[in-house]
């Protein structure tokens, strides 16, 4: 008899109609409002950056899968998402070759080297950004004002807070009329896409809830103690890449804990790290590092939140 791998488990068996491309394309649909907002604010730059990142992501995936003689799954949507998400967290005026290099790194060393989708430890898009941040720190911190086609360097709201103690209005932050990464500026557009994902139950609400809840709680406490030295909680929520990260990067299925309790731990951990980085470190923003650090300890969280087998003795 030819050997097959049969999965043996007790009934009942439920077969879900969901598969990888279905989930991935739902995420892409959810990202469309963000893409529209970024094109509205940053015009041609946004289009070019997104196109370069998506094409490089798919190309890299294809090359590596051919080299490793695996099935080619370029069109399952996961490479498109990585490319698109990476474009959203890059500064609009970043040279296209640098964006392309970062995307190559994200797919090659962030995903394919571990064995492809499902095996990666870190969120590939964030890893790509971390690589670019360490490689071209000056390019990665050169920001542009919305609606302008020249590179007018201007500090992001978080950098203004950290180095000049000045605050941008809440309304600008909510609509996105501030300088920052391509897709992080408009909270409104991100929330539209995120609500679609939450309604379709594609992302687990526990991670964003834990993440945002911790940020609001901690920043409220600090703000209450010292309203001059710390920003108010709503401002913390809207500024930087927090909302984009909380809904589109932190809940990534592959790199987060599998248990419900674990997901709470994951979200709360992200929030703690973020507030520490934003308030006391030399960096203005910490969404990227907070999620990457929690990705790193995800196996540990899985281990400690492992549900007890029925009847198992403690």
């Amino acid at each position: 008899m030819k050997e097959e791998h049969f999965l043996v488990s007790t009934s009942p068996h439920i077969r879900s109609a969901e598969d990888i491309p279905k989930i991935m394309y739902a995420v892409i649909i959810a990202l469309i409002p963000v893409a529209i907002a970024s094109i509205y604010f940053f015009r041609l730059w946004a289009i070019k950056l997104m196109a370069v990142c998506i094409i490089t992501a798919m190309g890299t995936e294809d090359i590596f899968q051919r080299l490793r003689k695996k099935d080619i799954t370029v069109f399952d949507g996961s490479a498109i998402i990585t490319g698109l998400l990476l474009a959203f967290i890059l500064p609009p005026s970043l040279p296209l070759w640098a964006a392309s290099l970062g995307t190559f790194f994200a797919i090659a060393l962030g995903k394919q080297i571990f064995g492809g989708l499902g095996y990666n430890i870190f969120n590939p898009a964030l890893l790509g950004r971390a690589f670019l941040m360490a490689t071209f720190p000056v390019l990665m911190t050169t920001w542009t004002k919305p609606f302008s086609l020249d590179v007018v360097t201007s500090a992001t709201p978080l950098a203004q807070m950290k180095f000049a103690q000045s605050f941008v209005s809440h309304q600008s932050l909510f609509l996105g009329n501030v300088s920052g990464s391509l897709g992080e500026t408009s909270a409104l557009a991100i929330l539209i896409g995120a609500s679609f994902l939450l309604i379709r139950k594609i992302i687990d609400w526990r991670i964003p809830a834990g993440y945002l809840g911790t940020v609001v709680l901690l920043s409220s406490i600090f703000w209450f103690i010292d309203p001059k030295g710390f920003a108010d909680p709503l401002w913390h929520l809207l500024a930087g890449g927090l909302i984009l990260g909380a809904f589109f990067m932190a809940p990534d299925m592959v790199t987060t804990p599998v248990t419900k309790r674990g997901r709470w731990v994951f979200g709360i951990g992200c929030g703690l790290i973020l507030i520490v980085i934003r308030s006391w470190s030399g960096l203005p923003e910490g969404v990227m590092y907070s999620i990457l650090l929690m990705n790193a300890i995800t196996p540990l969280i899985n281990r400690f939140t492992h549900p007890r087998i029925f009847g198992e003795q403690k």
Binding site: P137, V138, T141, T153, A155, F163, G282
Partner: protein, 189 residues
């Protein structure tokens, strides 16, 4: 008896190995260390004359817990004080030789002697361009830094431009010089 002789052999071999290598090292140390010391003293000497451009000679002034180098020009006039400043930057220890006017009001020059800052970023504190900013700026009330200066606005007294992408290293340099100048001033009072 067998065990006894084994133990003796072990002790004997280790002792001999230790003695020979110890003796050999003493010899090598004697040969090289004076050379190494001379080199590091030389670099210190050179740095003093860089940061006190008018000085041709210097004297060591020992205060309670710091050493000042009193710069002297050709005619024997006091032309400024130099001292070593140490502090931690982004990655590790930074050591700077600082030259100031006799009344500590103005920086004459600085020279970064040691730094392990990130190459290409904070490492630029060793660039001539960055160090030259400190030439002749007011040291009091304190040295400040600005990020991303608008090229049109003029520099205020005692102000330097931070290195793009390396605010922390730039801040560290300014802060440690400020702190040391205050310490020297207090010690001299």
């Amino acid at each position: 008896m067998k065990i006894m002789s084994d133990t003796v052999k072990m002790i004997a071999v280790l002792t001999i190995v230790g003695l020979i290598s110890g003796g050999f090292l003493t010899f090598v140390y004697e040969q090289t260390i004076s050379k190494a010391e001379r080199k590091s003293l030389e670099s210190l000497r050179k740095a003093i004359f860089v940061v006190l451009p008018e000085a041709v000679d210097y004297q060591e002034l020992k205060l309670a817990d710091q050493i000042l180098y009193q710069g002297i020009d050709k005619s024997g006039q006091k032309v400024g004080l130099a001292f070593l400043v140490e502090g931690s930057g982004f990655q590790g220890k930074i050591e700077i030789m600082v030259g100031v006017d006799q009344d500590l009001s103005r920086l004459q020059n600085i020279q970064v002697l040691e730094s392990v800052e990130t190459p290409g970023l904070g490492g630029k504190i060793t660039d001539q361009e960055f160090q030259d900013q400190f030439k002749g700026i007011a040291a009091r009330p304190k040295i400040t830094y600005v990020r991303n200066r608008n090229p049109v606005t003029p520099k205020k007294p005692g102000e330097i431009d931070a290195i793009t992408g390396a605010t922390i290293s730039s801040k560290a340099v300014a802060d440690m010089i400020n702190k040391e100048i205050v310490r020297v001033w207090e010690a001299l009072q």
